[in-house]
């Protein structure tokens, strides 16, 4: 049963990841990314990390992907891309990817098939995770909070309309439209 679920969602994750990379339209890529993240969340649950599975669905598939979709629609991105120099570069990238996969796979394969101990109620308990997070990893936790604050401020400043602070004035180059000739 577990093997069946693993293979189903592994195939789903890999297939949708390929769609993310291959598809021309960023919107379809993003929606396919949701499928990848959801399949990975299922695998997290299989690995005894239900909290991370839930977090993955909530934060990644919920918030981050919506942010992506929002920006894609805000920018009204055309689907075509410049193709010059794509041929050779694509093949070199493919070769490098195959080599990378060979090396990673070899390393992981050598890691062996060590028998893992079965999951217990204690090993998946959220309480133990939270205790460790808020005792031993409290400082990193606070730093991550600070990082998120800085990121929010930085994103707001970076995405602000350059120049004036007034927003009621209609500017001639609104996002997503062609500039007036």
């Amino acid at each position: 049963m577990e093997t069946l679920i693993f293979f189903l969602f592994a195939a789903l994750a890999l297939g949708s990841a390929i769609v993310v990379v291959v598809h021309k339209s960023p919107v379809y890529s993003t929606l396919s990314l949701v499928l990848t993240l959801f399949s990975t969340a299922v695998l997290f649950v299989l690995l005894g990390a239900p909290f991370l599975g839930a977090l993955q669905v909530l934060v990644y598939a919920g918030a981050i992907v919506v942010l992506f979709l929002f920006v894609i629609m805000l920018l009204n991105i055309q689907t075509e891309e410049s193709a010059h120099g794509a041929g050779a570069q694509r093949w070199v990238a493919l070769l490098g990817a195959v080599i990378l996969f060979g090396m990673l796979g070899l390393g992981f394969w050598r890691g062996g098939f060590a028998q893992v101990s079965p999951l217990t109620a204690e090993s998946v308990s959220l309480k133990a995770l939270a205790t460790e997070l808020f005792s031993r990893y409290l400082l990193p936790f606070e730093i991550v909070g600070l990082l998120l604050l800085v990121a929010v401020i930085g994103a707001t400043v970076a995405a602000r309309r350059p120049g004036g602070t007034n927003t009621d004035e209609t500017d001639e180059i609104a996002l997503g439209e062609e500039p007036a000739p």
């Binding site: 990314l33 990378l100 996969f101 992981f108 060590a114 991550v144 990082l147």
Partner: protein, 102 residues
């Protein structure tokens, strides 16, 4: 009890990571490159959780927690930068963003 070896998870993570790398190297649309990077981060998360399972420790899971938070920050800042770039150059095709290329 567990019939799926940890190595299979690790191999799946390696495959996902390579797919993401391929996308980041070949795509020309800035948003698509970003999405590929998200796939790579996701693969790294899967590796961490798989090893946390094998070693029976929680540190790997907590690291994934931090990775997700940092990925959120990275997505916010990166997309804001893309908006700023798009406002200046009317494109986010990385082949045309060659101001700093020599």
């Amino acid at each position: 009890m567990t019939s799926v070896p940890i190595s299979w998870y690790l191999l799946l993570a390696a495959a996902l990571f390579v797919v993401g790398t391929l996308g980041a190297l070949t795509r020309r649309n800035g948003i698509s490159i970003f999405l590929s990077i998200e796939v790579m981060l996701n693969a790294a998360n899967l590796t961490l959780v798989a090893y946390a399972r094998q070693l029976d420790q929680r540190t790997g899971q907590l690291l994934v927690f931090f990775v997700i938070a940092v990925a959120a920050a990275e997505a916010a800042v990166g997309l804001a930068l893309f908006i700023a770039v798009f406002r200046q150059r009317r494109t986010i095709d990385v082949n045309r963003l060659n101001l700093m290329r020599w």
